[in-house]
Homo-oligomer: 231 residues x 2
DNA sequence: ATAACTAATAGTCAATTTGACCATATAATT
DNA sequence: AATTATATGGTCAAATTGACTATTAGTTAT
């Protein structure tokens, strides 16, 4: 039975690509790897590869991301598949794109497997990528802009304790717009998503802001039922 | 070159499944086909099949839906792929699910290709389907409930001219809840999505309601920018 | 014709939320 | 002590919501 008989056999017409958004210093980055082999050798691209016969697609995405970049234990979600006939040269390959949002500072990058290098790249400075990877990036960014308005975000992006300004910067980076500070605070605090830590930030050269953390229960409930965030 | 050399060659580890929601008489239906061959012969399932090397995934979805059910010219959107190792017996097959919403009355069904029968089935009476098709259905229905609250819907589901009550029934069928009539009207009319036809419905045994149609421009704009619909 | 019925449409109103602000507080720096 | 930077608190008119009641315009039964 092919499913288990050849554990390293790969599905050849189907690949995975991972679009990892990282948040750091108020800016959004994208995780790119430099390919060490294959037809795009030497080029920067989204981390991706092939699915094995004995792993689920979700498992393949996590394995590939980890082996190429060193990043693991993150919550990868499926974006969608990209299936144009000519998207990959010579061979017919359909790819399933995954995405995630993480705090870029929490992960140390180490290239591996078919990657010779791995780097965060500011989302506004991403070069021309091979195949349809730029299109995948745009689709993911658009998806993110939509998501931020209808689900809570930030759980995996922000440090455990963060200020209201931190989370505002995150929203501003994703929505590419400026938000009114007092109104943002009011709206965010009213949904009971944040719990005060009763601590202040340190090492800032101005009045220290209060630190908050997410209320996981409320976060999950709002993720399930959806919310509206327009400012 | 495999992409064009064997036009009928199929990608064997990857399939398509279509989840078509139909709206009729205030109820939501799902389009099912009875398989005429293969390991699920004689069983009802979602219409689906294999992708050819020289067609995009979107094209494959439309072709398969048309050849199995006779339904064509609808806007199929990708739901997501389902890639558990054991989802399909014996072979490893990953499927990409598509979905659409249509007015069930606008399409005449005719089974073809590998389907011996095709029928609308009330969403609450769907039997046990093979593989993970029930899971796909649930994921699609959940997606629909989310979508209805954040994007305008109905363009392809309702007749060209419809009453406010028509569209309310649609929302109620999807959200599985009852909505307050005056408040629903107010909210819907305020977003300038509907244009009055200056006509009344006919053949009803009570006061006739005004007919409206969608303003395509506003509809597309709201689809792009998103909206909030909570009642 | 008139009453009863059905559903469409209009309107009310208090409570909440919003958007656009201004004001004050608390720290570090000059 | 003044200046600067940011956090945090507060105001207010306008818009929106949610829960209703009232009225209108037709059909059908008496």
């Amino acid at each position: 039975m092919s499913k288990t008989g050849f554990p390293d056999k790969i599905i050849d017409a189907l690949s995975i690509d991972c679009l990892i958004f990282g948040f750091k210093d108020g800016e959004l980055d994208v995780l790119l790897v430099k390919h060490a082999e294959g037809i795009s050798k030497g080029k920067w691209a989204l981390p991706g590869g092939w699915i094995k016969y004995n792993e689920s697609v979700d498992e393949a995405a996590n394995r590939l991301l980890h082996s190429l970049t060193g990043v693991s234990n993150i919550y990868l979600e499926q974006l969608r598949s990209f299936g144009e006939v000519m998207r990959y040269p010579l061979e017919r390959v359909i790819t399933i794109a995954y995405y995630a949002l993480v705090n870029a500072e929490n992960y140390s990058l180490s290239p591996g497997f078919t990657a010779s290098d791995v780097q965060w790249c500011n989302i506004h400075e991403v070069p021309k990528l091979p195949y349809d990877h730029n299109e995948i990036l745009q689709a993911g960014f658009k998806h993110l802009k939509h998501k931020v308005r209808h689900e809570p975000i930030g759980f995996n992006l922000l440090p455990k304790k963060f200020t209201l300004h931190h989370i505002q910067e995150l929203y501003e980076a994703i929505l590419e717009t400026e938000l009114d500070k007092p109104n943002f605070r009011r709206k965010l605090l009213k949904m009971n998503l944040l719990v005060p830590c009763h601590e202040k930030q340190e090492d800032v050269s101005h009045r220290a802001a209060s630190l908050y953390r997410f209320d996981k229960k409320v976060y999950d409930k709002l993720t399930e039922k959806g919310l509206t965030f327009e400012l």
